[in-house]
Every structure is written in structure tokens, then in C-alpha cells.
Symmetry: C2
Subunit: 223 residues, 2 copies
DNA sequence: ATATAAAGTTAGAATATTCTAACAAAATTA
DNA sequence: TAATTTTGTTAGAATATTCTAACTTTATAT
């Protein structure tokens, strides 16, 4: 079994890899708030343990084994977040820090029970996919809201960053997952987007905010 | 804040103190499965931190501060056990190991929510009292089943030891908390007790089992 | 192509937690 | 009381995780 610490490194590598397929020491250092030499040592250790591929001066990649173990921690994290929101009544902006701790609990039964009580959810409260027991997860191809065109009607499906502040901001604007959003216009000089949703008209969202919002295009899908 | 490790020591001291009011190094060593010299070092550390009173060759006692902090961990442990049983459907024999881990979660909101969802319970699934937010707990005076006399009719209120094995044994005998038990006879040579409860007649319980069962005498209480 | 900056590494040290071996004190037994 | 057992302590070492300081390699900018 991995220690609490090793699990946090694996998870960070997994998350950084999500976009680029690899993670470098410098980014891990920032992400984990741990100095580079410390990260460097841990990379050697994880490499020795067969969890990552590591060669000096190169970015690290998870091995099959590392991938699987990281996915299981992410799975526990996201199941926990979902449980906290759906079964305990927390807001989506309140669950990350708690899940950050509970993800390390060693008890397959505990997470199996959560999964069951939740009805085997596929996504967490932030729209991120929950890996299944085998570490597989379905990535639906979403678009960033700041890449949509005026006239597009889209559905809010996920956030790419889930800091408390950002989520609380979305709360104040009534912007929840599954909200149908119509893109009205985009300012050419700063990318500010004007949208409509629910009963709100002429709502302004900065480009930075829209960069963190993932949407699917509203289309009638043949079932 | 205390580390995970320090919390486990505090809890062990608290539990051992429950009976004698103090704990010695040797017992702590056995309880925690940590060698005596290690426990000895930790006693110095906890003493330096003002959590216990410690003098060489003497048993340790919790200070006010240590008492309070230990009680808060016990509170989190017992609330968790209650939540797992009442809200997630686990058996009373399945929750200790999970609670042992979740008790270390740092999130007042998380435990406050559990408490609220449970309706502010006073006891855990094993009949042990749950300390309140101030660390106070109500100890009802129960009797051991092996100290009852033939003819007594009592109510099963708590277990003093909650190992999986023991609780599973009680499950197989349909012995749950609140069961009304009638003491029929006690063998003088080995203390084996014959009892009746539910629809079971002439049920035999060893003295060792009865030593771990706490009961209250069934009496009409004026309300 | 240099020079500068950024990223990565090595060396050495600190803290936390644990252990074994050896010794000392206290309690129990004879 | 003296011998023995149990309990407790000290010393010294190992592992895990982290840091700072100094150095090296790679990437970027002039
Ligand atoms: Mn999260
Ligand atoms: Mn974590
Ligand atoms: Mn317990
Ligand atoms: Mn614990």
C-alpha cells in the first residue's frame, strides 16, 4: 500500500497528466506546495516502486500500475464529493477539502457503499468523471465556454477548476451544472462574453471565468 | 493541531484512563502495538506540549487540555460509527476500523453535519457515550451482566469491548442493544450464565462474554 | 552564439516516528 | 530480605518526509 504522501503525489501527477499526458517536477512542486528537491526525491522513490517512468531532466509519466492506483484515489475523492453533496447536503464549494482527506481512507467497503447509495454515479459535483473500479473513466468531449460563438446555445457540464472562490462566484450568479446558456456576444478586445440563462438577460462573464466553464452543445440526440 | 499519531496516543490514554483514571507506558504499548521506548518518547513530547502529566516511572494522566482534545477525537470516532450504522447501513461489527481513520479528518463542518443528520445522538452503536462539543459526556452507571443475580431482568445497554469477533458472536445470538434479558441461573464453578431473551430460552453465555456486556436493571422510572 | 533565466539535481541537515539492545527501577515472589 | 519478574528508561540507529544551499542542465532571450 502507498502512504498518504505517496498518494498525494500520484494524484497530482494524474491531474497534471490529464492535459499533457506527463508532469514535470516544477509543476508538481507548485501544485503540491513542496520544494523541488523533495519532489525530485519522491520521483526516484515512485520510480523505484514502479509507479512512474522517470529519467533525469525529463517529465514523468505514470506506468500502468501508477495510472491504476492514481485513478483509484481520484475515484475515492470524487465519490466522496458526490456523497457529501447528494447525501449530506453540502454545497459543491464545500466538499473538496473534506474529500482531500477522506480519499485516503482504506476501506473498499466504505467506498462501495457510497457508490451503491449514490446509484453508481458517473460524474462528481463538478462534472468530472468518476473512474470505475478498474480505473477506467469516460471523458466526454466538452468545449470551453470562451470558445463558443455568438448564437450558440450550450449546457453547462463541468468546471475545470474548483476553487471555493470560483464556485461561490458561480453560486451568486445561479450558474449550476446543467444550466442552459445562450451566448449573445463576445467582446473582441477582452473576450468578455454576454450570456442569457434562466431568467437572466445580458449577464456578463469575463473570459477568465468562461475559460473554466465546460459546456456541451445543445443538440437533439437520437436515442 | 496534533498529528494523526499524537491523536492515536491521546485516544489510547483516554480509553485506558476511563477505568483507572491513568494510563501506564506498558499498557499503552500493548494497546497501540508500539514498543515501550517509542511510547516513552511520545510521553515526553505530549508532556512538553501540555497534554499530559508525566513523571518518570509513574502512570500518565491527561491534563484539562489533553482531556478536551482526546474527547474531541473520541467524539468524532463515535459520531462516525453512528453515522455509518444509521445512515449508511453498516453493521455495528463493521464500523470501528473505518471510524478509526475518519476520526482524524479535520473539518468541524463535516462532523457537525453528521451530528445534525443523526439528530444529536448521545451514544454510539456500541452503547458508549458520545462526548458533546465541549468534551463532556454522560456516563450512565451500568452493571456487568456477570454480576447480575438469578431472577434479574435487565436491558442490554452497551458492550465494553467491541472487537469484530465478539460483535459477530452477539449477532449470531440475536443479542442487540435494548434486548431485554432475564437471568435464569449462574453456574457456581465457571460462572456460565443461563438467560432468556426474545423467544430464546435456556441460552448459555460464558462468564467472559457476560463480562463484556453492560446492562441496566429494568425498572419503571418515574418521568 | 552568448548570456540569462528557468528547471532540475545533489548534498547535507532537520523533524517525526519507530525500532533493538542494554540498563535501571519498581513490584512481586520466594 | 533476596531473588526474580515486570515495567520503564536511555542510547543509538533506521525510515520517511521535508527543507536550504549550491550546482548543473535545459530553455529562452538578446
Ligand atoms: Mn475535488
Ligand atoms: Mn489528499
Ligand atoms: Mn470504535
Ligand atoms: Mn485512529
Amino acid at each position: 500500500m502507498n502512504t498518504h504522501t505517496e498518494e498525494n503525489y500520484l494524484k497530482a501527477i494524474f491531474n497534471l497528466s490529464a492535459t499533457k499526458g506527463e508532469a514535470n517536477v516544477n509543476e508538481l512542486s507548485r501544485q503540491l506546495d513542496i520544494k523541488m528537491p523533495t519532489v525530485n526525491s519522491m520521483m526516484k522513490k515512485l520510480s523505484d516502486r514502479g509507479l512512474i517512468i522517470y529519467e533525469s531532466y525529463k517529465p514523468v509519466r505514470l506506468t500502468k500500475k501508477g495510472q491504476k492506483e492514481a485513478a483509484m484515489i481520484i475515484r475515492k475523492h470524487r465519490l466522496t464529493e458526490m456523497y457529501l453533496v447528494e447525501k449530506m447536503g453540502f454545497g459543491w464549494d464545500e466538499v473538496h477539502d473534506i474529500a482531500e482527506q477522506i480519499e485516503h481512507v482504506q476501506s473498499p467497503e466504505f467506498f462501495a457503499k457510497m457508490d451503491e447509495l449514490l446509484g453508481y454515479p458517473k460524474v462528481d459535483p463538478h462534472g468530472s468523471p468518476i473512474p470505475d473500479r478498474n480505473g477506467k473513466m469516460e471523458w466526454t468531449e466538452y468545449h470551453k465556454l470562451n470558445e463558443c460563438k455568438p448564437g450558440d446555445t450550450v449546457i453547462f457540464k463541468a468546471v475545470t477548476h474548483s476553487s471555493d472562490d470560483f464556485l461561490k462566484f458561480l453560486n451568486t450568479r445561479e450558474l449550476l451544472l446543467e444550466t442552459v446558456i445562450k451566448v449573445i456576444s463576445i467582446e473582441s478586445f477582452d473576450g468578455t462574453i454576454t450570456v442569457e440563462y434562466n431568467k437572466r438577460k445580458q449577464e456578463l462573464l469575463s473570459n477568465i471565468v468562461c475559460d473554466k466553464i465546460l459546456v456541451s452543445h445543445k443538440k437533439t440526440r437520437s436515442v
